[in-house]
Subunit: 554 residues, 2 copies
């Protein structure tokens, strides 16, 4: 025991020295105890297959198999060493790594065995745990072979932020696999040296809880699974025309639009979901889709409908409509810290306005066409959001209809095929890619290859314009996805998009035949973690396996 304590002391000293040398945003070699040159001198080859998903940006590895101590210890260092978020994440990942049991669960009997990796030393160089778009998610991971050169039997994970540490923990957990012959958790092809950071800042999944209510527990399962693929934005399409499940404190009648009294979220449930997501490094982007997708709002407040016969879009002619929106936004500001807020704005069928006499009258009074009123509505809603400090996101119809009027801060959310992101960034707007032909998960006939082969930057060559594409998002619309089938509709295809959004195209644009076994491995990994990801090879999504066989070949 004394020896180990001495080693920890040396490490602490080293860290103190290194921490004094931290500079810039990235991980610079100078301050790192992970010495790339040292790694490269130990006979590393890059020709081993790796089963990491998504692929890290920069990696090198050797050909030694090392063992991981089932009593793997955790050392957190650096300014962020007090992070309970990292500590709890480590506990979760340790559980995942140690799924399989050995010797009647009595690992103590093995205490005399020498393991190569007896601890994971995590260095976090800031104590700021603010989660936001664009925070530093980079990390470096070094898994040594544990020869006489190493001063500790530990793997090293270094990150600027706790969220970088979470990403690194995920990668570390994927390096570990249980060897059923040796009964050890092992890391093959060590030493590993990984330097990783995401390609895009915004890597989203939309969940629609209006067409079907998704229980809180299911939402948490989805958020958990997102973290396994390093997705980082849970776009919560909370309400739509079919139902309004969420409590709005300032207008408590709104959730009368829920399907039943049981299919609801309290305001605090939403807060709890945001906190849960944060603990996984995932932002929650809330949406209220106005004015088009909002019929359910009027169940509690029929004044929001143009008339009882014509209930959508929300009545543009009443101040009350905007009073309700302003109140929702003010309520949301208390629980949704993410700086992006989605205001919808798609599929606004204005006939209801022009066909309702009192609304038509109002339009005439204000000298507005229905199209003007659509613009007026969207811009007024944007203003309300901006006044509360939000960056508005709108579906692309708003850009297609009146791009020159949109607040320049607006982030355009593509969904109608490709093409809008190139146009939007050409006009200086930021853009999110969700081309329905490839990234709408409810399109069951889109196979993983098509999801994988799409790119948010398609059609954009100018590098300054490329920077305006903040990322992309796969969309899980809920018409035929309830608690019973949502996860197998999401996975494994969402993983294909997740790698596109995280990994460098140099690595991932190559032969799909080489990608397939890695994706199958990831799908089976999701299964092992209790996530019902569907077989990869089915032509249609979420179909059962066609017959008996291995998870890795279906």
């Amino acid at each position: 025991m004394r020896k180990r304590c001495a080693q920890e002391f040396v490490i602490s000293l080293l860290v103190l020295v290194f921490l004094n040398q931290i500079e810039g945003n990235g991980l610079s070699k100078e301050w790192s105890i992970i010495d790339e040159d040292l790694v490269n001198s130990t006979g590393i080859t890059n020709d081993q297959p790796t089963y990491l998903w998504p692929l890290p940006k920069k990696r090198s590895n050797g050909n030694v198999t090392v063992t991981v101590d089932p009593n793997l210890g955790l050392v957190i260092q650096g300014i962020g060493h007090n992070s309970s978020l990292v500590r709890e994440a480590f506990a979760r990942y340790k559980n995942i790594i140690l799924t399989h049991h050995v010797k009647f669960g009595n690992r103590n009997s093995e205490q005399n065995i020498e393991y190569s990796i007896s601890k994971l030393i995590i260095t976090v160089s800031t104590a700021d745990e603010t989660l936001q778009l664009g925070i530093d998610e980079s990390y470096s991971l070094y898994v040594p072979v544990g020869d006489e050169h190493s001063i500790v039997q530990g793997a090293h994970l270094e990150a600027k932020t706790v969220y970088g540490a979470l990403r690194g923990l995920e990668t570390f957990s994927q390096l570990c696999s249980f060897n059923f012959m040796t009964k050890n958790v092992e890391i093959s092809n060590a030493p590993w040296f990984i330097q990783d950071k995401p390609r895009f800042a915004f890597r989203g999944l939309l969940l629609d809880t209006s067409r079907h209510y998704q229980p809180v527990e299911i939402i948490k399962q989805i958020i958990d699974s997102m973290s396994y693929a390093k997705l980082n934005v849970f776009h919560w399409h909370i309400v739509d025309e079919e139902s309004f499940p969420l409590e709005i404190p300032s207008f408590p009648g709104l959730w009368k639009g829920s399907y039943t009294g049981w299919e609801r979220y309290t305001f605090d449930d939403a807060h709890d979901i945001v906190e849960f997501a944060k603990s996984r490094g995932i932002n929650v982007m809330a949406e209220i889709d106005v004015p088009g997708h909002a019929e359910s709002w009027g169940v509690g407040y029929p004044d929001l409908w143009p008339s009882a016969d014509c209930r959508e879009p929300l009545d543009v002619s009443k101040n009350f409509t905007f009073e309700v929106i302003a109140s929702i936004l003010a309520d949301f500001r208390k629980i949704f810290p993410f700086k992006l807020f989605h205001l919808g704005g798609d599929e606004v069928h204005t006939d209801c306005w022009t066909n309702t006499p009192k609304v038509k009258e109002w339009l005439d009074e204000h000298n507005m066409t229905a199209r003007d009123a659509y613009q007026y509505f969207v811009l007024r809603a944007q203003k309300l959001a901006i006044n509360l400090g939000w960056t508005p996101v709108n579906w692309e119809e708003t850009f297609n209809a009146f791009s020159e009027k949109l607040n320049p801060k607006t982030i355009i959310h593509n969904w109608l095929d490709s093409g809008v992101c190139p146009r939007a960034v050409g006009k200086g707007f930021k853009c999110i890619f969700s081309n329905q032909g490839v990234w709408y998960l409810d399109h069951l006939d889109v196979p993983w290859e098509k999801v994988y082969s799409s790119d948010p930057l398609e059609g954009i060559d100018d590098s300054s314009q490329q920077k305006l594409v903040i990322g992309g998002e796969v969309c899980m619309w809920g018409e035929t996805a309830d608690a019973s089938d949502v996860q197998q509709t999401i996975w494994p295809r969402a993983a294909a998009a997740a790698e596109r959004l995280w990994s460098s195209t140099d690595d991932t644009s190559s032969d799909l035949d080489t990608v397939l076994p890695r994706l199958e491995y990831f799908r089976c990994l999701l299964n092992q973690r209790g996530i019902p990801a569907a077989p990869v090879r089915n032509e249609l999504a979420r179909r059962p396996p066609s017959g008996f066989g291995s998870c890795y070949m279906q």
Copy 2:
């Protein structure tokens, strides 16, 4: 605080008095602090709808809504008061009951609110936690209205065993529902007085982990969900011809028959699964299906095959075959405490024996037909199991082929349509009902009504013969069920069988229209607990919802 302590003291005294009066197996009124007469004098009516699944045997209720303290306390009393199993179960159920969040998660701010039910007082009258077929699962549950007659603000749950307490906890959790208007967990229609016990001792679900490997995490999810429906036997069809995923310490080559090196269970994983199941009051009945469904055994030991071209049934002519079976059974005896062991015995196609020269030679030497050899094999395997203290279970073909030779202890497991249980019990055998036309879950075209309307006692009128039917089991064969779709194939239809096996037929044979909303409620309850149970109303099992809508009406 003093007042509460005084109340607990009174309760303890009462329990001491009552415990001195325990007699017999059931819950007799004399020893119970739950006084049925008192309950009946408080204006109870039985005409309220109840949403319990499966229906308790005896229940009465009133029309008062009571609130449950979010800081619900636990008091365990009686001889079994030290049970960590009950304590952990209470913690799980408390989590379930308190899924929804109120006031930014700060329930402390509500500490001045008076709740009707501030604690659950569980009395367990034995410290013996042995789980076995036929243990006492009965319980009584009393939820008072908390008027001046009640000496404590607690609900009372009384059970002979910890497993009765688990069943009662499940019922208590189903009585609780979150009221989104009052923001309280409430119990409607109190006071509740429930006296419950199962109709059948054996209420099983078969899971096939050979056609598809099911990860340990998925198996645990299934076991958890079984406990919600009060099923109590996890029939683990571990191996079959397609794969052999489990480690057998005495013959370590056997799991070479797994699909891949990753799709395996360590011997200790199996032990862990048994322990996990026990904590949910669920027995694990292991199966090795010999000699017919065993091709995968020979991957590691080709000698078990009659020949390389003809690999099934196991070679009846070699002592080695029985040596392997004996060793598996001896290994299993260490980790499977359930007294029933399933030896399979179905679908034995003996052509392989008669067509393999050396086996044919052996048959001739021993003056056996292929049919004789089948009988010889089954009986020899039975003997091995019986010598280890097991009660053998065999699929019905063994009974159909040579009932008069079977060990009289044999439990006949029906699967080929109906009819065998009446014949088996007529000959004094015990029987398990799994008629494939109604209780095979892989038959996707069997709707819940058909599952529900079947009965293990069909065709058996004699009450002494009825007693030989120990119960029934739904079977989840794995050809098209892997981790991605197994739960929605099991649920909600397994729940229909679970109620048939638990509840009295007086209650449940009535109009299916009155059952449907209760089953839909249970399906949505499973969803809320994170179990992807499929819509109830689909004609084919595990299909997605046909369109948007409420969980409770799909």
